[in-house]
């Protein structure tokens, strides 16, 4: 038997798995995110369904070997409907003791650990809090361990390229990538092409990295590995035919804003101030100057919100973005936009709060802030995206609501959605319906207080239009003339009409649909935002066991779809899993007098499927 034939028969015998969770973990300087992204790309090209989740440390460059400097990237890929990055890890790649100790708790019993033994020095062990080397003391007996001196292997592989020790060691992540690609039968082509492109100006670095990938792959093929460590097959998923790409929520949201501007036929001014995890929007949009988008990095959050409002006053669509603490600073300006009834889109990429909280971790705790967090009676629409790809459509919807109802709109994303990625069947933009904005141009009968009788939107007349010169401001305005008015009855009327306008949006949004299951029944699991993936899987599993449970996922947080109350009342029980202390639960109770039950998780980590599944069981058994 030739070598090739031998390999082929090995591959045929390869173990077949429905889905696998791999986590790459190392120092923040180890390049684990890059490794993960490359592996993701190869996996997408292979044809698996997948979801990924990067877990960054808050420190940019923590001291080497520190537990708080561990950066991880998790990917779940499989043959069927993947919607979360996975509950537990099957394969853990740990580049040092800190990465091992911080990620071990999520590894399944019998899971595979690949470690770089070179990094298990006394110093690193102490830094990670080990008193004995876990590779020797039997503490990993529950798992399968593949200890490799990766550093030595890499230095050997890159030797011909004359790299210094420092640069040579940096290729460790590519070696590991090569080995992992072997393990799951992925093609190295895309990664190799990517390296050639990335290091086009430094071909020796490209070559060294490529050599490292190939060496890692060859190691898997040739080294005598412990039994049970062999090539795994994860069959291709049965995904809808079409053109695909990977996207993070931040990317999809940025593209959605650009798309929304085109559908509204309006230029966009995006004004923002750097804040984790929201900055990616500013980064992406500032690179899209070929579109009608002007970006502005303001001096602070308030200035960013105000510049966006100024842009809307001048006839563009102002968009501002931040995370919770920054949104708090913008609150007064958002109220000005509510008072003057100017369109504005405010994106909140939520993170763990309060205050600085957990800036790199995810949470859904700004729902109260979004719905209620302004002075005065200032309702405004709040909508939430549920998956990375959903961010595209939700951004378009935010632009539609803002421009059609002359109001600020709050768009909720979160740290998980922003950074997580999933394959996206690229939509055909030509199929999207336009909602062109017509600025007022007719001086006859013009008043800045005029409203569209149907939507109640205030007229939008932009500076530069002859004959429509007018003044607006934060002081209460007369219902008819728009002039300053301190009239008691007028203030009541204006407050009510602003509220009616927002409440009335319910007539212009789709009815709430049931994502999975029946329209009535024993239990509805109601979610919003990034809990979508975990709820979806938990409900699917429970339903497969014959349980009477449905999944309802809300996009329109305020105002809510007109049929939502009746829909929820068709269920005996309502369970709301949230990454907060129960903010949607309170809204549902207050609005509909429904005794919804909360399932809360405020750890900075997304829900695991099994956590929701367990609660579904508990709720149904507790009948």
């Amino acid at each position: 038997m030739s070598v090739v034939e031998d390999m082929r028969s090995q591959a045929e015998e390869a173990k077949v798995l429905d889905g696998v969770v791999v986590r790459f973990a190392g120092d923040s300087g180890d390049g684990m995110q890059l490794t993960g992204n490359n592996f993701t790309e190869a996996t997408a090209l292979y044809g698996n369904d997948l979801a990924t989740f990067p877990d960054f440390p808050a420190e940019i460059r923590a001291p080497a070997g520190a537990t708080f400097g561990v950066s991880a990237f998790q990917i779940y890929f499989g043959a069927d409907d993947v919607t979360t990055p996975g509950d537990a890890t099957d394969v853990l790649v740990a580049m040092n003791p800190a990465a091992l100790t911080t990620n071990l708790k999520d590894l399944v019993d019998g899971g595979l650990i690949i470690v770089d033994t070179d990094a298990f020095t006394d110093k690193n062990l102490v830094r990670a809090g080990y008193t004995a080397n876990p590779l020797d003391d039997g503490s990993l007996d529950n798992y399968r361990v593949l200890p490799i001196d990766i550093t030595k292997q890499v230095l050997e592989a890159v030797k011909p390229y004359g790299l210094s020790h420092k640069f040579g060691v940096r290729c460790k992540n590519m070696w590991t990538l090569g080995l992992t690609m072997w393990l799951f039968d992925r093609s190295r082509d895309a990664a190799i092409a990517g390296l050639k492109k990335k290091f086009a100006k430094a071909p020796d670095i490209a070559d060294a990295n490529i050599a490292a990938i190939n060496a890692g792959h060859a190691y898997g093929e040739t080294a005598e590995l412990p039994t049970g460590i062999e090539v795994y097959k994860v069959p291709r998923a049965n995904v809808e035919p079409g053109l695909y790409r990977n996207t993070t929520g931040s990317e999809a949201l940025s593209y959605g804003l650009v798309a929304g501007g085109q559908l509204a036929e309006l230029p966009i001014v995006f004004a923002s101030y750097p804040i984790t995890p929201a900055s990616a929007l500013l980064h992406t949009l500032s690179g899209l100057k070929q579109f009608d988008v002007v970006t502005f990095q303001a001096e602070d959050e308030i200035a960013a919100a105000c510049a966006a409002i100024g842009a809307s006053f001048a006839g563009s669509l102002g968009v501002t973005s931040s995370s919770g603490p920054g949104i708090a600073l913008k609150a007064e300006a958002i109220s000005l936009a509510c008072a003057t009834e100017l369109p504005l889109v405010v994106v909140n990429t939520q993170r763990g709060g309060p205050s600085t909280g957990l800036p790199t971790k995810t949470e859904q705790s700004d729902l109260n802030q979004s719905i209620y967090g302004r002075h005065g009676d200032t309702p405004m629409p709040v909508i939430a995206s549920s998956t990375p790809t959903d961010c595209f459509d939700v951004a378009i919807e935010a632009v539609r609501l803002a421009t059609q109802f002359s109001t600020p709109v709050l768009l909720l994303s979160d740290g998980y959605l922003a950074n997580a990625s999933e394959p996206w069947k690229v939509p055909d933009f030509d199929e999207y319906e336009h909602f062109p904005v017509k600025h007022e141009t007719n001086p006859e009968g013009f008043s800045p207080a005029n409203r569209n009788p149907e939507t109640l939107a205030r007229v939008w007349a932009k500076p530069g239009t002859p004959g429509l010169e007018h003044r607006i401001g934060g002081i209460e305005r007369d219902f008819v003339t728009g002039d300053i008015s301190y009239e008691p009855a007028n203030h009541h009327k204006m407050t009510m009409i602003r509220k009616q306008k927002i409440d009335g949006i319910a007539k212009f949004i789709p009815d709430q649909k049931v994502d999975q299951g029946n329209d009535t029944g024993k239990l509805a699991v109601v979610g919003w935002g990034s809990t979508y993936g975990a709820i979806h899987q938990a409900v699917k599993r429970a339903r497969a066991e014959g349980k009477d449970v449905s999944h309802i996922h809300i996009r329109y947080m305020w105002p809510m779809p007109a049929n939502l109350e009746a829909l929820l009342k068709g269920f005996e029980k309502v369970l709301i899993p949230e990454m907060n202390t129960g903010q949607l639960v309170n809204v549902i109770r207050a609005k509909f007098l429904i005794d919804a039950k909360a399932l809360n998780k405020i750890s900075g980590q997304p829900f695991k499927i099994r956590e929701i599944e367990a609660e579904i069981k508990a709720q149904l058994e507790g009948n």
Binding site: G242, Y244, R245, P267, Q290, A303, C306, S312, P463, G473
Partner: protein, 337 residues
Amino acid sequence: MNAPLTLKDYETDQEVRWCPGCGDYAILKTIQKYMPTSGISKENTVFVSGIGCSSRFPYYMNTYGFHTIHGRAPSIATGVKLANPELDVWVITGDGDGFSIGGNHMIHVLRRNVDLQIILFNNEIYGLTKGQYSPTSKVGTRSPSTPDGSIDAPLDPCSFAIGAGAQFVARSIDTEAKHLTPILERAHQHRGASFVEIYQNCPVYNDGNFDYVKDKKTAADSRLVLEHGKPMLFGADNQKGIRLNLNTLALEVVTLGEDGVTEADILVHDEGNKVIAQMLTGLESGKFPEPIGVLYCAETRKAYTEEVYDQRIAVREARGPANVNDLLRSGHTWTVS
């Protein structure tokens, strides 16, 4: 051809609600009178203000106007210019609005050099909130919040503006239309952020605060009227002047004919000299006359929004036409069949 516009065309039907005798009235009239000569149509003119007595200004100007929130007018105005750089945008602010709550925005709008006319009505007091001392109040100002006199040192708005990188900095006086009008015109012509401080009397809470400069009897000695290319002379017969002492590198008051001083010793005002401009803003009140006029004017940088749009044009030329479908298909894609 339409009849040329007059002051009347810039008045609104709103009743002007400042206190009787307020310096704001005079400034309003001067600006309304200047506007028809500004060369800009009414519809392309925008007044943006923050909060305070002076910030009511836009309601009285028959142009586009936005009365916004406390301290934020520079940011709102920046957004207006980013959306439409063709608009002619004026920012009306006060000492509390622009230099206390909005101080940060003032730094950045000047540093960025956004093409705006920023008009500061400096009355050295909080009027609308009933008379508290402000960041420009002189030490010892007695007010409801400082009954025993204020302690903290005031800031000088023109010095602040030059420090922040403003390219046009001038100072004038509310009731002196003859001096103020040409300064408004200069500010308007200047491309980039133009900063004009106007000493404004608040007869209710800080009456007579600027009398030492305004009083006709003492004005000659108490003010230094700056004119580009002219020696810095002042006093009843222009017999006094400002000299740069080369030993101390400080400005000093000298008298022509005394100690051999001749006109050749007197500094000639050069609007482009930032160092001297900064020295002029730092002159101690009482010991020195108060400089009014254009303190500093340079056009070394393009206006911010011009640069923004230049960069955009360059990128567009390099990248070609934009298409959302192409954008969505950029980067790595794969086909599932």
